[in-house]
């Protein structure tokens, strides 16, 4: 209850003790720095304050001691070995700082002798022995090991330890005619097992491409079928009069259907590629792959040419080189057009690698391509 008083009293006691013995009321003054001074008279002060006269130029300074030149250079130290004479300095090239102008002789004019004939075509690369496409693998028959090698028996011979040729009944009777017997032969055998690892490799370079989804059936046949359909009932017109009325109605219906079909299928769908179209992503992927290899010389005349190149592709996505052709060109001179076509052709061929990444199931959509190279946005301005 009196805790607060105790604490307060203690603290005040400590404070009073510190004030008494802690030096708070000590009377020692702090030390003062004292500078020693000297007293001078007024005359001395006036003499000090007078302007100092500039120093007078004295007489000629004494000559500096010159280094003594020895009359005789010190003898070089004698060396035991025979000194080798220093190498002769190279003759400096005499160059006229201001050569007179000389007539400029015409440089020899090279002459074009002739154009060279066509070089030989490169030799074709030899075909590999391995088949391009492997068929379904056929299991190898396991070899039978026997003390003696036995050749492959005839296909229709039964397996038997003894060899028996086929004996057939002859048309002409013969005394020695043997009894009719089935051919037999011992089973084929070899003396050692030859594994696949010891045979030359015949691995195929490609496997069978997965079978694509079958194309939609061509829509053209219904037109002819419907046209021919009414002719069948017409073969028996007089069999029953009500049937004749039905036939006439069916004929009109069939012609209407044929017309509707023709209208529905018009629009070129019959002569265009079948199957689903390429997605935007697939088309963009193809475009980006080619444009990465399209080198544009922005300062050239060819940069003013827009060229359209047509080409065919195989199912692996590779360009058929011989099919590359220029379909159209706009702007620029003849040589500029040819240069633009070459640049486009290089771009198409260079970036194909092992084939462009296009969906094989949509081959009909991209087997023929028309690619337009338009450098308008890249021209320097």
């Amino acid at each position: 209850m009196h805790t607060g008083h105790y604490i307060s009293g203690g603290a005040h006691g400590i404070l009073i003790l510190w004030a008494l013995f802690g030096g708070m009321f000590r009377s020692d003054p702090p030390e003062v720095q004292v500078a020693e001074v000297s007293v001078i008279s007024e005359a001395q002060f006036a003499a000090m304050m007078q302007p100092q006269a500039a120093p007078q130029l004295g007489a000629e300074p004494a000559a500096l001691p010159q280094p003594q030149i020895e009359e005789q250079p010190p003898e070089p130290p004698v060396q035991d070995a025979q000194p080798t004479p220093p190498p002769e300095p190279a003759e400096p090239e005499v160059s006229d700082p201001d050569p007179a102008p000389q007539p400029v002789l015409p440089q020899p004019e090279p002459e074009v002798v002739e154009t060279l004939p066509q070089p030989p075509a490169p030799e074709p690369v030899p075909e590999v022995e391995a088949p391009e496409v492997a068929l379904r693998p056929i299991p190898r028959p396991a070899p039978r090991v026997a003390p003696e090698a036995v050749p492959e028996p005839a296909p229709d011979a039964e397996v038997a330890p003894e060899v028996q040729e086929t004996v057939e009944r002859s048309e002409t009777p013969d005394v020695t005619d043997a009894e009719e017997q089935q051919a037999t032969a011992p089973e084929a055998a070899t003396t050692e097992i030859v594994t696949e690892a010891e045979e030359p490799a015949r691995a195929p370079s490609a496997s069978v491409r997965p079978q694509v989804r079958p194309n939609r059936p061509a829509p053209t046949p219904p037109q002819t079928e419907t046209a021919e359909a009414p002719s069948e009932p017409a073969s028996a017109p007089e069999a029953s009069p009500p049937a004749q009325e039905d036939t006439a109605a069916a004929d009109a219906t069939a012609s209407a259907i044929a017309g509707a079909l023709e209208e529905a299928l018009s629009g070129g769908a019959t002569d265009g590629p079948s199957g689903p179209p390429l997605t935007q992503g697939e088309t963009d992927g193809f475009r980006i792959a080619v444009q990465d290899c399209w080198v544009v010389d922005v300062g050239s005349q060819a940069a003013n040419v827009t060229v359209t190149v047509g080409f065919d592709m195989d199912r692996s996505g590779r360009v058929v080189s011989s099919s590359l052709r220029m379909l159209a060109a706009e702007g620029g001179s003849g040589s500029a057009v040819e240069t633009a076509f070459q640049a486009a052709r290089r771009a198409i061929l260079r970036c194909q690698g092992d084939g462009y990444n296009l969906p094989p199931e949509k081959f009909d959509q991209w087997k023929t391509v028309e690619m337009t190279f338009n450098p308008e946005s890249m021209r320097i301005r």
């Binding site: 201001d98 090279p110 074009v112 629009g267 005349q301 690619m371 320097i380």
Partner: protein, 441 residues
């Protein structure tokens, strides 16, 4: 009746699906590409085959000059020889395109050199590696051993032309002012060199200040301004004999900034009478002159269009130096430069589609190009002092003089592609300024 209903349903189904089929593309796949890459085209030049005993070194030198020419354009990048898989050991042997495809060489130059000591024959072929075909036909040049560099330049011109579809500029020469000595006592002389700085030959002595040499189209004559008489005068110099004469001899009159017309018979230049400078034209054959401008301002630096029908020049008639175009026979001029700063030293492109100029703006000098109507102005360089552009014969590259700052500053020649890329210094033995690029030889 059932049959009819079934057929109607079939027709209905096909009619519904028909639009979907129509939505699919018809005919070939059509793609438009509008973005390509701007990069040097990789090519390979293996050492040419030496077909005679003493031609080994020559074959290597010629192949190297061809490679330097092509790579120097900035349009081609040589695949280093260390990367080559195939070696060309015989000029007639077939090319293994697969080996060159593997190192991504898009073009291949093969060649052979034979020499009997007095006559050198260089033959070459250019190949499109990825198409597997030859570009153009094989060709061969014959000349003397002294002319091996020219033959190499001619081979490079052919290669350049077959790949780019445009003529080259390697077998050409440049006349310029060679400068030596400190800046305050500089000695200036006319000199001529190959486009790459080789084979420098002096045309004048150092007794008089010379300025602004200009080649004629045939490269046989040079116009220049000389202070030989104490007054600037236009001189014409025959390159073959190094003989020169004053073209315009009127006393007390300054004439300068001369340039040949494309026909080689007319010279256009500036003439100062009193305080007025106008453009005049002179027929070299008859000596007849006619005044083309008559403004009270300063008209100078005239340059003909390639067809000789128009002249571009600079004038301060609007208060600052600007570019104007007028008919070659004089008359009304139209202003084509409207940007900030001062325009000077216009030169018409050999292609006829652009005009190069010097521009001074905000304390910097630029070399720029614009269309002949003043549109599409582009500045290609910027430095303390760039001036005096001149076009390569094919109108693709511009050479100009660049001077460095300070008391020790010197002038050098540089080239830049009109796309603004490939800024390069031309190697000259001394300082150089005022270049004028001659035609293809």
């Amino acid at each position: 009746m059932k049959q009819v209903v079934a057929m109607l349903l079939t027709v209905l189904g096909m009619a519904v699906s028909a639009p979907m089929v129509a939505m699919a593309q018809s005919g070939p796949l059509r793609i438009e590409i509008t973005e390509g890459v701007v990069e040097p085209l990789p090519y390979a030049v293996p050492d040419f085959v030496a077909e005679s005993a003493g031609a080994q070194q020559l074959a290597q030198q010629i192949a190297r000059v061809v490679a330097e020419d092509l790579t120097g354009t900035g349009l081609f990048r040589e695949v280093p020889r260390e990367a080559h898989i195939s070696q060309i050991t015989s000029f007639g042997s077939p090319v293994q395109f697969a080996d060159w495809k593997a190192i991504n060489a898009q073009a291949l130059v093969t060649g052979a050199v034979s020499s009997d000591g007095n006559r050198v024959i260089v033959k070459f072929r250019v190949w499109d590696v990825f198409a597997g075909t030859e570009l153009g036909q094989g060709m061969q040049f014959a000349g003397t051993p002294d002319g091996w560099r020219r033959m190499a330049h001619k081979v490079a011109d052919q290669v350049y032309s077959r790949i780019t579809g445009e003529s080259g500029y390697f077998d050409s020469r440049v006349v310029f002012v060679s400068e030596s000595g400190p800046k305050d006592q500089r000695v200036k002389r006319l000199a001529v060199m190959d486009y790459d700085g080789a084979n420098v030959q002096f045309l004048t002595g150092s007794n008089a200040l010379v300025l602004a040499p200009r080649f004629s189209d045939d490269g046989q004559r040079v116009l220049y301004t000389s202070y030989e008489t104490g007054m600037p005068r236009v001189h014409v110099l025959e390159v073959g004999t190094v003989q020169s004469r004053i073209l315009q001899g009127q006393d007390g009159v300054m004439s300068f900034a001369p340039r040949f017309a494309p026909n080689g018979q007319t010279v256009v230049y500036s003439l100062t009478q009193g305080s007025n400078t106008d453009i005049w034209a002179m027929d070299i054959g008859s000596g007849g002159v006619r005044q083309l401008t008559s403004a009270p301002s300063i008209e100078t630096a005239p340059s003909y269009s390639p067809d000789g029908s128009q002249i571009v020049f600079e004038s301060d008639r609007s208060g600052t130096q600007q570019l104007y175009v007028m008919s070659a026979s004089g008359g009304e001029a139209r202003r084509i430069s409207f940007g900030q700063g001062r325009y000077s030293t216009p030169v018409w492109s050999p292609r006829g589609d652009m005009i190069a100029f010097t521009k001074q703006n905000a304390g910097r000098f630029h070399i720029g190009v614009m269309r002949t109507d003043g549109s599409e102005e582009r500045l290609l360089t910027a430095s303390f002092l760039d001036e005096g552009p001149t076009w390569a014969p094919n109108g693709r590259v511009i050479m100009f003089a660049r001077e460095t700052q300070g008391a020790q500053g010197s002038s050098s020649l540089y080239t830049v592609d009109i796309s603004g890329r490939n800024l390069k210094r031309v190697r000259t033995p001394e300082g150089a300024s005022d270049p004028s690029w001659g035609a293809l030889q």
